[in-house]
Symmetry: C2
């Protein structure tokens, strides 16, 4: 099912700035047992992103109504719901006219069919050669300029490798192609995740995990994480809104194995208890 | 007029990766007196870009036929022709399926109606606050991830300011929002333009001007250009495929005036003689 500005429609104008320039934002929401998980956090990030890109999106209540229509029309109780907001259609080149109205797109997709073992016993990951773009003004935003993720994700097509880790122009760890990443230093009870001040997407699941970790008494640090920090970590995991937490047990490029650690498992347990 | 994969159609699938991720490329071509200017250079850059983004575009001959159909259907002998190639529709998330076929989009637009004085007596420009993203792997490519240009161009809406100059994360000059930029050092007979190894688009007109400048005996350097270099320049101009060369006579932010210099005029003259 696809709604464009509230109407069942699976096409948009070629002139839409989402296509012309990637001038927009998106959210990917897990819908499970009839519940759109962390929907308020997703909508808040969407509005924050519109603010940062100066997209005058004022149709939140309309979007909420359309989302409810979408939930009610889903044939399955589990799905992925993707929301896109673009700046709309029109304008002479890069300059948007004042009258341009943002476009709302809601689409539904099946939940991806990953093996349960990804969560239970962990995944193998690789290093991506393609590096992330750096821009302090765009860092953290889930915008539609996603060539970096596309190029990195298309470096491999082997289901044995569940995710690729991405680095910035200085070779510091930033995120996975579709996830955020955390490392654990057990002795000092620390949970570290890359500081997203130059690149990366500040995930909803990432924020949720940082919140849970602080409740569990872990010391949380957003910081620069080098390849060496990654190698020396006691536990590593990746996370996103759709898949939750996947423990990393193998980084194939450096032949580094990790055990499925207790802190990762505590966080998985805590996450399973959270009211969505 | 808009053709999508050869068919008159002004909409595309929401699932097209051009919209979903900005996963594609574009060219903007001046069509004047019935001639698509520098069309071979544009098509070559498009193919090079497909190569760099690993988009398996193999429909060049079909695209050529569609372009001829578009030329023949234009009601005016002057227009802008925009070509977009996206990776196509589909794939699970960032990973494109092997079977995805690239999408070809050709659209026509009126030539922008800038005053003739922009070329003849020069333009005022400003500095953009929004900085360009840096990524060595994407630098130079005319891809669809253009949020930087959008955010920079939307900083002002005053027709007196013809262009905004953009800087990289280290505050070095890169380009205009819709143009490349050159500076002239008269004493040493040098024409300098920013090295596009971290960001920016390598323009067709930029290449053309570098070629003409070498024929005119100028020393051409692609190099780092600081704000101070810009301030000390004897002449400055911006250029693109649609507008040719616009001399810069005023940078409003630093209250710096330039004269309309002889080297800029020689290049304009040489450009006017080139067979398109």
């Amino acid at each position: 099912m696809v709604l464009v500005n509230g109407k069942p429609e699976d096409r948009i104008a070629v002139s839409d700035r989402g296509l012309q320039y990637g001038d927009g934002l998106f959210e990917t929401i897990a819908f499970r047992h009839g519940i759109p998980e962390f929907i308020e956090a997703h909508l808040k990030r969407l509005l924050d992103g519109c603010g940062r890109l100066n997209i005058p999106f004022r149709q939140l209540e309309l979007l909420r109504k359309e989302l409810i229509e979408v939930y009610q029309n889903l044939s399955d109780s589990d799905a992925v719901i993707k929301i896109m907001i673009t700046r709309g259609s029109g304008g002479r080149g890069y300059l948007a006219e004042n009258t341009v109205e943002p476009t709302r797109i809601i689409s539904t997709h099946p939940l991806p069919n990953y093996p349960e073992s990804h969560s239970l016993t962990g995944v193998s990951v690789r290093f991506c050669q393609h590096k992330l773009s750096e821009n302090t003004s765009l860092a953290g935003i889930k915008h539609l300029n996603r060539l970096d993720n596309v190029l990195a994700r298309n470096e491999w097509d082997n289901a044995e490798i569940a995710e690729g880790l991405m680095f910035d122009q200085s070779n510091n760890l930033v995120e996975g192609t579709m996830s955020n990443v955390f490392i654990v230093k057990s002795k000092s009870n620390q949970l570290l995740t890359p500081l997203l001040n130059k690149s990366g997407v500040a995930g909803i699941m990432r924020a949720q995990i940082m919140h849970l970790a602080s409740q569990l008494g872990l010391l949380i640090k957003e910081t620069v994480i080098t390849r060496n920090d990654l190698r020396k970590a006691d536990e590593v995991f990746v996370c996103n809104s759709i898949n939750g937490i996947w423990p990393v047990i193998d980084v194939v490029d450096i032949e580094k194995k990790y055990t499925l650690g207790s802190i990762t498992q505590q966080l998985q347990q805590a996450l399973s208890m959270v009211k969505r």
